[in-house]
Amino acid sequence: MIHLKAFLLDALESATTGGRRYHLWMGGLTLVMLIGAYGYWVQLRDGLEVTGMDDHVSWGLYISNFAFLVGLAAAAMLVVLPAYVLKDVDFGRAVLLAEGVAVSALLMCLAFVVVDLGNPLASWHLIPFIGILNWPQSLLAWDVVVLNGYLLINLAIPAYLLYSHYVGRQPDKRKYVPWIYVAVLWAVSIHLVTAFLFAGLPARPFWHNALLGPRFLASAFAAGPAFMILLLWFIRSQTEYPIEEGIFSKLAMITAVAAQVNLVMLASEVFTEFYFPTHHMLSAQYLFFGLEGHSALVPWIWTAVTLNVAATLVLTIHPLRRNPRWLMGACLVLFVAIWVEKGMGLVIPGFIPSPLGEIVEYSVTWVELAVTAGIWAMGLFVLTVLVRVALPIELGRVRSPHLERVAGD
């Protein structure tokens, strides 16, 4: 217990001390969070009417971000997989960071779902036994289970590792390695379940296809490692935390392959929709070319496709991928491209045209933008704190003050 108190105090100190740039960063994030909180307050006061959603497009920017971030949370585990399952020691250092990314992304996911609820005060109805969780019928109930389970696992493993290092103990592999295997499988499941949430709806032909799940995975396994590359690069350039060169080439390889697979699937989807156009391809037509004069998403999707192809090309050409500057640029571009493609390009066209053939377009409002920015700021804030706490412990700089006494006894 004495260690735990010191651990928490040291963690607090690590998170709250830093240079001017650190405080500026955290202050900026706090400001954005406050703007988001104001937006959410307006939404609570006036109802979801203040968003761009309506009975036609009944999910918008919030659920789009949710779908994307589930992928990010799942993909962080790709870094863990080689480290433990394939026993590739290079990755060991990055595991804690990957789990930090998973935790932050999951918190953002849960936040995006909560802000999307019309009656958030009733969310206790989801708790089994106290309320009613309609499991296994509802895929949303599945999502509640797998996301919260994944969050718990990803909180528990790093907490155990960090705490063990903090108190100068070697973590017991029998205690945590089995959970890492569970987490890796679970990572795949959270993303498949989220895809099935959409794919299980025959009412929406745009989502109702067997490729949706695999495509979710492929795009996530491209965007996730791309984000990890950027994060690890930043940490390596800003701190003394040793991250081996090899990790970048391996992650870049994973990103490149996943991005290629994602493009193949995109091509396959486009072919099926457009080779012999049917009634069911109207959403795709709306997305890529516009429908009856409505074309709000067309510039978005073509930007996303262009960026996606460009980034995949850079990642595919060996000399370019091995050049850090090109690699970082490609990762950033790919991340943004997949965010647009998965966000605006997946959720919204599913609602257009409506099941009765009506076309009502969607455009975001300032409230949605503010709340979305606020949640992203919250995620980055949490990630920064987690990294800030983890690094000194992993570098051996922060250790329990009670250690020496124990050792001296």
Binding site: G47, S58, P120, A122, L126, G131, Q137, L140, P355, G357
Partner: protein, 367 residues
Amino acid sequence: MSESREMTFEDVLEYVGRRESEAKLEAVTTTPSPRRPEGSCGSGSCGCAGEAPPEPQGELLEKQVDRRQALGMLFGAAAVTTQAASACSPASLVAEEEREAKLLEWQEYFKGNFQRMTRDEKDATIGRLERLAQLRQGVEVAIDSTEALPGVVYGYAFNISKCTGFRNCVDACIKENNLDRRTAAQYIRIFEMEGGEVDLDHGDATFQHEVPAEGHFYMGTQCFQCANPPCVEVCPVSATWQEPDGITVVDYDWCIGCRYCIAACPYWARRFNWSEPHVPAEELNPNQHYLGNRARKDGVVEKCTYCIQRTRQGRLPACAEACPTGARVFGNLLDPNSEIRWVLENKQVFRLKEELHTEPRFWYFMD
């Protein structure tokens, strides 16, 4: 207060429960106090404090103080005194009503899913909701909870040859079901179709011209009360379900507002309250059903229930009754002598999107 301290928690609960049934009785036997216009009498310094309240209100007041005491005990608020019992100014009455409403709302928050309530729990929540309608909107409503009638499954048939697009059904539906007037929500949509093809994609539900238009026909949509409803399957909290008479209903107080059911419905039949719904008191239909046209709130889903508050009393849905052309046929599918059965047996009928296997209980036919 010393006496009240000796009461156990269970005593308090029982006490509150008893008050509740009395309050319900009261709602039936006494005239409700009219809603006070804001700002005119709320401050207590308006000069009418000397007026003696009429007899029923006096009784009301006493009971409300009891209720408030119970609230105080529940929350452990030691500051509750009985002084207010002697106060008779309208201002304190307003404050009392505010407290009563708050308590009722607090109790409403913790209630369960209607489908799993006992008869007593159903009666209790209905009593609270009726009282809240008095306190908050100043309206007298009667909320029914009649269960599905045995041997009844409702079905609907729509005669495309007869509908002329008057939309009397839409208006009747809005009034009957207390639909939000501010956003002009509608359960029924009438599509104006070009003659020759039954493809809703080429229909127009927003027509504003004289009807029937030359060369067009009209097709109404609403919730088809599918026998295999995808919307029910997806609800994460079981806030929507199919009743034994085939009507798919929503427990508005159990819905969390995730809108998954809206995404799942192939017929675009569900509506969401994007803001606090509003119906002027004078236009409110006071004959309500818990699973039907009672007041909805901001952030929850609602839908057509074949006018459950009417049909379970043996009446026609408002849309069928309002139709001037006889295009709408409603009845019991299990009754071999019903008109709906006659239509199904003697006309060529079809349903929308049969390939989805949702099995709508809503058929289209032509003469």
